[in-house]
């Protein structure tokens, strides 16, 4: 029985019947408005991004088709193809995932399947501290540690001062705790009966982990990875500081694929980096620069929204399997 089911009692004195309470209604109204503010935020984001993007596409220098297919981003030259910025974002995110997925997953498996209470007590706080460090400090770390390290190991003629690899590796470190905590949640949601069944058949801990628990938690783990990817795509400070401020414009066919377009050791501006750099000067309203950051922002918004929605669907399916 839920608390709001009311029991009908006949012949109740009128003074005991439910009475209108203006104060109660007022508070209820206030609480409702609090809930509605989150809707207003979404509407505000969509409206503003949409409105300014529309202004951007209405500008005579911009062509929508060129925006979604173009491979040159050069606002001064009137070239507005979004792909160089998306390329920067994707390169950094992919490097980040390459770094973070093995570390994050192995950490999650170890913490959920192997670790004793004492070992957990040591590693969990480390991961939590990694979450708590502001991204601008990671940016500092990328520029003053990771970049010099890469340059001294691989040679400064190979690795540029601003490069995608340094930013990608540091973004990877930044999302390790996210992956490990989401994956650990998924792993520990796998019922113990499955593990016990496998042990009873003589499986080793390794076999239980990799053949029973991980496949059982797969959609939950995948959902965590997608969330981490979305976080990497939206990450700003490391990317702005370490990956450089020039979009990697390219021509398909003419430029070498691995020598230039996908080269991780050269600089490439990401979408977030472009927005931050453009906005950090004194940006005048109603200019094409001002409008362009909103068009990029809208692209970014839909990319992260899509990734997050995908992850939620995966989690839902995962929950249904075990509950």
């Amino acid at each position: 029985m839920t608390p709001n089911d009311q029991v009908e009692v006949d012949r109740t004195p009128k003074s005991l019947l439910k009475q209108p309470r203006p104060g109660e209604m007022l508070i209820r109204g206030f609480l409702f408005i609090c809930g509605a503010i989150s809707i207003a935020t979404t509407v505000g984001i969509l409206y503003e991004l949409g409105k300014e993007s529309l202004l951007f596409f209405q500008d005579e220098r911009v062509d929508f088709f060129e925006f979604i297919t173009g491979t040159v981003w050069q606002p001064q030259g009137g070239a507005f193809g979004v792909w160089p910025l998306i390329l920067g974002t994707l390169l950094i995110s992919v490097i980040a995932m390459v770094v973070a997925v093995p570390i994050g997953l192995a950490a999650a498996i170890y913490l959920s399947e192997y670790a004793s209470r004492r070992v957990r007590g040591f590693f969990k706080p480390v991961l939590e501290i990694l979450v708590g460090i502001p991204t601008v400090v990671y940016g500092f770390f990328a520029l003053t540690f990771m970049t010099p390290l890469l340059r001294s190991v691989l040679g400064s003629s190979v690795v540029g001062f601003f490069n995608v690899a340094s930013a990608g590796v540091v973004v990877g470190i930044l999302i390790v705790p996210l992956i490990s905590s989401l994956a650990e949640d998924a792993l520990s949601a796998v019922p113990d009966s499955l593990r016990e069944g496998a042990y009873a058949l003589g499986a080793s801990k390794f076999e239980v982990s990799t053949r029973i628990v991980v496949p059982g938690a797969l959609s939950g783990i995948a959902a965590g990875l997608v969330v981490a990817m979305s976080r990497a795509v939206g990450e700003t400070m490391v990317v702005t500081l370490a990956a450089g401020a020039a979009p990697r414009n390219f021509t398909l066919g003419a430029d070498s694929f691995f020598g230039y377009i996908l080269n991780p050791f050269e600089s490439a501006q990401a979408m977030t980096g472009y927005i931050a750099i453009t906005a950090s000067g004194d940006l005048a309203y109603n200019t094409i620069d001002y409008n362009s950051i909103f068009a990029i922002g809208l692209t970014l918004f839909f990319m992260t929204l899509g990734l997050n929605a995908l992850s939620r669907r995966m989690v839902k399916r995962f929950r249904e399997a075990y509950e």
Binding site: G35, E52, G132, K205, V227
Partner: protein
């Protein structure tokens, strides 16, 4: 004791003992390898954290080669103190002002005084008549209305105008400890190669410098790394925390109460819930763009304070602490709502039913039964969310905090800078010394976050003790 293996019916189907042993050995080795691999990966995470902290500390302390226009020891000695026991830091306010008076040209002195005066009751560089005249003019300088300077301000003025330190080379902590001679050789070689411009080798002194020190915390922002401090940035960050909390906590907790306690399952309430989950995944820079478009631009009369006064607005545009604080509040909101919801959902239903059964209204039950029990969870979640917001840089860049500000924020309509913004700017400058102060500012930011987190733990413990 060994058992005789039972006879096997079909040798082809089952492995021989030998095969079985090697199979088992292989499986065990694989398992062992996997375990070591996992532990190795976890260790990488620990090493990454350690390296990060090491990098920050390494750049915050170390040897420097510094050229002073006036030697601090001579300056202290000139005031009759023993340089062995007294440093510049120990000088009194009057002595510091005296140093300025003796060393600064009267034109510069007058400008400084017009900016902000040194004493409440007397003038140092200006004469009373001129002062009265400029203060009654149409555009009086800031010094006419502002209060007098404090010791930290005058100390950094003395640094800037009298000592004029110029750090020409710096060395990170680890190398300074392991191999200090190498630094001396490097500096000497630099002088021979003429890398230090007009300075000569005997002008430079090599000394230890902690870039993270009390002067650094108390001094206002500056364009010169040797004398720059982070007081302005710390105050900016504190203002941001206050506004964020004032905005996000009532609204966030209110929304959580509505969703958990009042809302009946309906399509609209489902939509609100999904929407909050979506908002939690929106990159922070997008919130910055929302702040820029709505708070800074559309609501400019409100965020610049123009509608609250009939005179000139406190700020000439909407790029104020208030805009940034509300932006961070909006950014924190989904996290506050979600963590408060978790805390409210964890309160047992029996409490609700008992309250309602006694005839309390829903709000009365929430206020006096449910909220007190859920409070530790709500507070912890909220403070952690605010701590995350304090470290956010991208939204602040978007709402326009990235310009060069040296004045402390005085109210919600002030221009401001914040700690993460300072770290961002200093990191992006090419000179070595800016790296050092960026590292020192990072230490300050991490300490601020640590304090906030400790605060969360203390509050939680206190509240959970009161409620059995």
């Amino acid at each position: 004791m060994s058992l005789e293996a039972p006879p096997r019916p079909d040798q082809g189907l089952f492995p021989t003992d030998q095969e079985y042993d090697s199979l088992l050995g292989r499986r065990n080795r694989k398992a062992q390898f996997f375990k070591v691999f996992c532990l190795l990966m976890l260790t990488i995470a620990v090493v990454a954290l350690a390296t990060l902290l090491y990098t920050i500390v390494n750049d915050s302390f170390g040897l420097v080669a510094v050229v002073n226009q006036n030697d601090p020891d001579d300056v202290v000695a000139s005031l009759g103190h023993d340089p062995e026991t007294t440093t510049l830091n120990d000088l009194s306010y009057d002595e510091l002002v005296g140093l300025l008076e003796a060393n600064v040209s009267s034109g510069v002195g007058r400008r400084l005084e017009r900016d902000q005066r040194f004493y409440e009751d007397r003038l140092v560089f200006e004469s009373d008549e001129v002062w009265d005249e400029i203060c009654s003019s149409n555009e009086p300088p800031a010094g006419c209305t502002r209060g007098p300077r404090n010791t930290a301000d005058v100390f950094s003025l003395v640094q800037e105008r009298v000592i004029v330190p110029d750090v020409i080379a710096s060395y990170p902590l680890a190398q300074s400890i392991v191999n200090p001679e190498a630094f001396e050789q490097e500096v000497a070689a630099g002088f021979e190669a003429g890398r230090f411009g007009d300075y000569t080798a005997d002008q430079a002194s090599i000394e230890w410098r902690a870039w993270f020190n009390t002067t650094f915390l108390l001094a206002p922002a500056s364009a010169t790394p040797e004398i720059a401090g982070i007081r302005t940035a710390i105050l900016g960050s504190v203002w941001l925390v206050v506004i964020t909390v004032i905005f996000a906590v009532p609204v966030g907790v209110g929304a959580a109460i509505y969703l958990v306690e009042f809302a009946k399952p309906s399509r609209f309430n489902d939509f609100v819930q999904t929407n909050i989950n979506n908002l939690a995944g929106v990159p922070s820079i997008i919130y910055g763009m929302l702040g820029l478009a709505i708070l800074v631009r559309v609501l400019e009369p409100f965020t610049s304070g123009a509608i609250f006064t009939t005179g000139p607005a406190p700020s000439d545009n909407g790029r104020t602490v208030l805009s940034a604080g509300i932006t961070l509040g909006l950014l924190t909101l989904p996290v506050v709502i979600i963590s408060s919801q978790e805390a409210l959902k964890a309160v047992p239903d029996s409490l609700r039913q008992a309250g309602l059964a006694l005839g309390a209204t829903r709000w009365q039950t929430v206020r006096s039964q449910i909220l007190p029990v859920a409070m530790p969870g709500v507070l912890t979640g909220t403070i952690l969310a605010v701590a995350r917001a304090v470290g956010e840089t991208a939204p602040l860049i978007l709402v326009g905090a990235a310009s060069f500000i040296t004045a402390d924020p005085t109210g919600p309509f002030s221009k401001f800078t914040a700690l993460p913004i300072q770290i961002f700017q200093w990191t992006s400058f090419p000179q070595e010394e800016f790296r050092n102060i960026a590292a020192a500012a990072s230490i300050a930011l991490l300490i601020l976050l640590l304090v906030l987190n400790a605060f969360a733990v203390i509050l939680r413990n206190r509240y959970s003790r009161r409620i059995p």
